[in-house]
Amino acid sequence: MVSGPTSRNREDGSLPRPGLEPRRGSPGEQPSEERVQKLARLALLLALATAIHTAEAMLPMTVVWFRFGFTNIVSLATLYLFGFKDALLLTVGRVLLGSLVTGLFGSPAFLLSMSGGLAAILGMGLFYRCCAPALSEVGISVIGAVLHNVTQLGVAYWLLIRNEGVFLLLPVMLAAGVGAGALNGLAARFFIRHFKKITMMPS
């Protein structure tokens, strides 16, 4: 991501180089402390999301392949704390990293995870932008979970199992998405408050 020379800090009195100073925002610029902090926090969140993804993939399947989708907690929190672009990057990153760790990279499960995760974060971002105060974290999380499940079902039908019987699972996936999404939403709210408190971000 952002890289550059390590010690060109003007506050230290280092030599300015007229004509050679990079513009603000270009990749050569000295990363400010805030940006480094943000980068570090995002990296930790990504690591957390990957860990949750991997741990969840190891849970035994109870009914079919239903998962609780705990990683959406971190995705949602990143959306609220850092904005949509970072949350999108986090989602893509945790699917890639998680699939590398679990060894399912490139397999159909990876495809399902990626499509579900992308749909979830895109939907959450959209509804966050349009209805944020009206819909609390619970509502946005429910939307994310439902979109995740429905997209997985659709991708499974489209690319894997060409059997319309797959859609018989739709009502169960919807209900499971609502239930898990609601719980994840509450957990995400807790996560966001706690994160803001311990990192002293402006609330």
């Binding site: 819909l135 619970v138 509502g139 429910v142 859609f167 009502p171 919807l174 209900a175 408050r193 408190k197």
Partner: protein
Amino acid sequence: MRLRAYITWSDLFLVAALLALAGFLFFVSSRWIVSRGTQVEIIAGEKSVGVYPLDQDRVIEVTGPLGKTEVEIRDGRARIRSSPCLNKICMRMGELGAAGGCIVCAPNEVVLRLRSGPVDGLDAVSR
């Protein structure tokens, strides 16, 4: 740490709408899914009487050596409603749904066989 577990009205509305959709799909989708693209073929003796899709309710009369056998298609399933055979085993064989199978009335030489519609031109898929 004190936490307000509030849920907005929009949240509740969303949840209620999604659960209603799930309930609706639960009761309706089995009828939609099962009968789509599946057809039942009725054979009398050596000849095929016809191929009928499962999503339209109808009663078909098939004439065999013993008399008339009535085949009923209803709710996406096919069964033999009445038959002039002696033991009426065919009438107790159940219904053909999307699962496939066949129902046979041996004395009257009537065979109900399930045939699914073409799936994108694929003959077989292995996983």
